[in-house]
């Protein structure tokens, strides 16, 4: 393989990983504020993709507007999910809330399949020219920087973080923990939907597409222990690159059919390394 091709594949892997990272950041945000692992995160991705397609192709809106409205619509769904399913469950433990998100995800998926059909939809056109990967990486970078600024430089960002550290203490300084949870769901939905929207030119939107993209996002977020944004991005990008490289190498046990095995093993190794280094640091310090 030529170095040029190698770089091309690296870029596509990074871009693919960026999408995982976007989805994963949604997991991270909800988890940090509420301790819920949101299994409906994949559905936000799906809504981003499906709505983008519908608004663009069926409604006929200009592409940028279609994408924007799709993300907004998914955000609204995220907010409504919180209001209708999470918020009423006052007595519920975190694990019960997780099951609620599983139920909600089945529900959302079913509704979309029922209303807009269960078959695949055509991909959107590339945002411009033939360089969707660059768009994806660019948009992810912008989102990440914005998110970082949001969490480190605004009061609301700090308040979200405070909720995660100590909910009761947060309410005692005047933070409405429930409105923060609401915000986190809306924000997570937006991130997921952005992931879904940017990948739509490269895939066929479909009512079940959230299952696998959600899973990959989950893996990315889990590498960051559902807390660390940096860890999530690193996890997502490693996953994306590992997947691409396994296919490119296509050698012996690293055949393309084992893509997921290799990618998971790489991630678990990273995890063990990170964790043992963490333990070593703790012991040394």
């Amino acid at each position: 393989m030529s170095p040029e091709q190698f770089v091309d594949n690296l870029i596509s892997g990074v871009a693919q990983g960026s999408v995982y990272a976007l989805v994963g950041l949604g997991f991270t945000i909800i988890y940090t504020v509420t301790r819920i692992i949101n299994f409906a995160q994949g559905e936000f991705v799906m809504l981003g993709g499906v709505f983008s397609f519908l608004l663009f192709s069926s409604v006929g809106l200009p592409l940028p507007l279609a994408l924007l409205l799709a993300v907004l619509a998914a955000t609204v769904v995220g907010a409504v999910l919180y209001l209708l399913a999470i918020r009423p469950a006052r007595q519920a433990s975190v694990i019960s809330l997780i099951i609620i998100t599983i139920g909600a995800s089945t529900f959302i998926r079913g509704v979309v399949g029922q209303i807009w059909g269960k078959d695949y939809m055509p991909p959107l056109p590339h945002f411009s020219g033939d360089n969707q990967w660059l768009w994806i990486i660019g948009i992810t970078l912008v989102v990440m920087v914005a998110l970082h600024l949001f969490f480190s430089r605004t009061m609301m960002g700090k308040a979200l973080k405070a909720c995660s550290i100590n909910r009761q203490a947060a309410s005692l300084v005047g933070i409405d923990a429930r409105s923060m949870a609401f915000t986190s769901f809306a924000l997570a939905a937006a991130l997921g939907a952005i992931g879904g929207a940017v990948i739509t030119p490269l895939t066929a939107p479909h009512f079940r597409m959230g299952l696998t993209l959600g899973l990959k996002g989950f893996v990315a977020a889990a590498v960051g222990d559902f807390r660390s944004q940096v860890g999530t991005v690193v996890g997502g990008v490693i996953l994306g690159i590992a997947e691409a490289m396994v296919v490119v190498l296509d050698w012996g046990p690293f055949a393309s059919a084992y893509k997921d095995v290799i990618a998971m093993l790489v991630l678990l190794l990273v995890l063990f390394f990170r964790s043992s280094r963490g333990a070593a640091q703790e012991a040394a310090s």
Binding site: K118, A204, M209, V247, S256
Partner: protein
Amino acid sequence: SESETIKIGALFDVTGPNSPLGTPEKQVVEMMETQINHAGGINGVPIEVIVYDTEGKEDSCVSLATRLIEQDGVVAIIGPSSTGESLAVIDTVDKAQIPMVSCAADERITIPVGDSIWVFKTPQTTYMAVQEIYSYIQDQGITKIAIMTDTKGFGAGGKKDLEDEASNYGLTIVSNQSYDNEETTNWDPFISKIENSGAEAVVCWGTNPGPALIAKALDGTGIPFFGSHGIANTKFIEVAGDAAEGVIFPVGKMLVADQLPDSDPQKAVLLQLKSDYEALYGEGTCNTFAGHAYDALKMVQMAVEEVAPDKETLTEELKDRKAFAAKIRTEIENIEGFAGTGGVFNMSPDDHCGLSKGCMVVVKIVNGEWVWLQD
């Protein structure tokens, strides 16, 4: 009263991973149920098709099959949609002695017949399609091919046959990759692998959307794309867009029904089904999967008519369901020369699929339409 309907069970994956197959299958049997009953049922007795959604789960499929047999009292089952589910319920229908006509393609469902004499299937077997497309490729003077197969059942079956048959057609597989249909979005590494292998053509075995996305990704490399009968629907053309142009694949005759010579025994059936189905569910919706379920139900209907040529015998038969089911099975096994959508079926005690070479054709997509490539 209860015994006054003929109950037929159907198991389709309507909401699971194979919902693009299960949905038309369900729709076609619902349509046929109405049609048959509209025409006074079978010999004056209405039929009732009970359709359950298996969600693509083997265990659900087994308990739903039992439910059809034990609770609903069906005399035959059509479906399931997928190979795995079909193989999973064989034991159940075999023990209960109820005939089943599967809509899944894998040859292991009916070979060897000795595993269960109660099981039949309608779709063409994969190696028939492989043979069709390979002989076409050979005719183009191509010798080096890359194969891309879905990791799931349909693609894996194709992979095996593609590998086995290649040398018979003077073909060398220079790149052999599998992909996960539901999750792959980054096709670039696959494509660059193919480009590096020196392949003159890509043969891709899978169902939507993988092949369409691969065709799209291949667009511009100049390497021609050959598909399987898994892409025999308008969705492929929609999803692949311009890249669908020029794609060639083997398929049952449904797609090119209007191009068939009038002498073709299947032509009338195909055109009829197509116009009925599309009148109900929309232009361009009829596909080969609907055809598989059509053939299955049709065979059951024919067998029932054979067992009970008039209303009295039928009413009599309905009293002993077990015996009736056994007779239906025998009659399905005796079906001969039935021109269905998938081909002309000649069932026999050693062949529970009943199709032979020639039931498939090679088509090419030209201007978004399927064109029959007559030799």
